[in-house]
Amino acid sequence: MTRVLESQLPILVVLLVLGTVAKVSTVRSGGEPGALARLGPAVLVPGHMQGPALLFCAAGELVLAAGLLLSTHTIFRWGTLAFFTMSTYVLLELRRRRPDAGCGCFGEVSSAPVGLRSIGRTALLAGMAALSLWAPVTGWEAATRPSWLMAAGVIALLALSPEIEEMIDRVRYRAPCEQRRGPAESVTLARLRESGSWRAHRDELTSAEPYDSWRELCWRFFAFRNHEQDDVVFAVYLSGRRPAVRRAVVSVEDSGSLPEYTPVSASR
């Protein structure tokens, strides 16, 4: 029987920690204050309080997770039960008042509007917390003794998580390279310097630092001068660790045609 009581503790701990991490990273990446406006219960508080509200929630989750993991004190058990019960109510309220807002349970991944599955999940978690109230051991000890009941809990939660589909969609329909934020300029420059094309033509350049650099679509261009004062331009593809590099030399007077076009492609 004790196995039954403690079986859900590790799941609760993992979920609380995941929730904390996701919320903190959402607040940190969402530099635009209003970007949180479509996320979770935070929409129910005024605009400037949304970031702090998410962080407060994250801190609460972290404390509960630590408590469940390391102690058997009932305050954490009851706290978890209260947290998930309250969450269920808040989500119901959110669904009623702001049908467009996501639950924000796992940060910006949970931006789909709150549905019955999200609510069902918090209700299930509340049930798990209630089951764990009188578990005799800490979460840590329970985690060292996995059981079928734990696996069943995980499967039930996965089935109730709309975020899984969202993540699969994101992998399947990744924004094309042209629309993604590219790697930093220094990273691309380092990749250029690892390329064969660079090694072959390095000595022609007056300086190893480009005098101009810009990004267009999926390419980043670096412009250098060679000893004849012609422009040497390298184009580096932005995706991939060993990207394609192309190079061309354009004389200073020239402004239209392609004088010395060298199709150096995909140098490895």
Partner: protein, 315 residues
């Protein structure tokens, strides 16, 4: 890093990738070209207008019988005051005037403060490189503007067309329906499925913050490090990244004209507007380019309407 040769980027990029570097200017296959002419009125009569262009030369242009003028409202061309700055749409190599906009200005930005009881004074943040601007809304225009700006409070966007009078901007007409979100909460673009569309549709607007007689566009999707513009890179139209100096091929869907226009500025403010243009049909959401008045007029746009439905491709 400065921009020693932003125009040269186009040539260098074309050479590196082995493609043709496009030529800025209108597409020759568009029928009779429209020329934009700007200047200060020296004299005007029902059939002739004499202006001084920014480079100091005097030009005499014939006013077409069907020509219309706008100076805070539709007026006959002959009633335009001498000394006002005009922007004109002309035919026949810039000899025949078809449309005149006098002292027309556009005020686009995020509202910082609103003061005044009858005539309202609105302080706007027009983006990091355009600074703050203050505009007066005369009492008779407040109702018309507020009905299209339901969130008339600090933090929300504002876009209006008006006239310059004694150095101050007077907002008279709403240029768009105000987006319902705060200026900094730009919605994400719709998810992109299976690669980039070759042409992207949206709305093209104009702005008077370009240099005189400059033909160019401000584009919202530039890399922040390349431009030194901290606010650029937000747009709800799913735009690809380009650079200052890239050539945009812009097509006015309403008038069926297209032109190659270089990107000359970052369109931080244009990217924040997730609105539609209903000039000839309902465009998809999002401003894809903010044109200089010259480019805008030569593409067949009407300054008072404020936008046209546009498609862009890479020139």
């Amino acid at each position: 890093m400065g921009y020693p040769s932003v125009e040269r980027r186009r040539v260098l990029a074309a050479a590196a990738l082995g493609r043709e570097s496009g030529i800025p200017g209108p597409d020759p296959g568009d029928g009779e070209p429209i020329n934009a002419v700007a200047g200060e009125i020296l004299d005007v009569s029902p059939h002739l207008i004499i202006i001084e262009t920014p480079d100091g030369t005097e030009e005499r242009l014939v006013i077409a019988p069907w020509a219309k003028a706008w100076h805070g409202g539709d007026t006959p061309p002959a009633d335009l005051p001498v000394g006002s700055m005009v922007m004109m749409r002309t035919l026949r190599d810039g000899r025949v005037v078809e449309r005149i906009w006098a002292d027309t200005t556009r005020i686009t930005g995020a509202i910082l403060s609103i003061s005044g009881r009858k005539d309202l004074t609105v302080e706007l943040d027009c983006g990091p490189h355009r600074g703050h601007r203050s505009v007066v809304i005369p009492y008779r225009a407040t109702g018309r503007l507020q009905v299209r700006h339901p969130k008339f409070e600090p933090g929300y966007l504002f876009d209006a067309i008006g006239i310059r009078r004694d150095g101050a901007g007077l907002a008279l007409l709403p240029a768009t329906s105000q987006p319902p979100y705060p200026a900094r909460a730009v919605p994400d673009p719709p998810p992109a499925y299976a690669g980039l569309q070759p042409r992207i549709s949206g709305t093209a607007t104009w702005s008077d913050t370009f240099d005189e007689e400059e033909r160019g566009a401000a584009y919202p999707m530039l890399e922040r490090v390349d431009t030194g513009c901290p606010d650029v890179g937000a747009s709800c139209a799913g735009l690809p990244y380009l650079a200052l100096g890239s050539l945009l091929q812009i097509r006015n869907v309403c008038s069926n004209r297209s032109a190659n226009v270089p990107v000359v500025a970052c369109g931080c403010m244009a990217g924040r507007f997730c609105d539609r243009c209903v000039e000839c049909d309902t465009s998809p959401r999002g401003r894809i380019a903010e044109l200089s008045p010259f480019s805008y007029v030569e593409l067949g746009g009407d300054l008072v309407k404020g936008c046209f439905n546009a498609q862009i491709g890479l020139g």
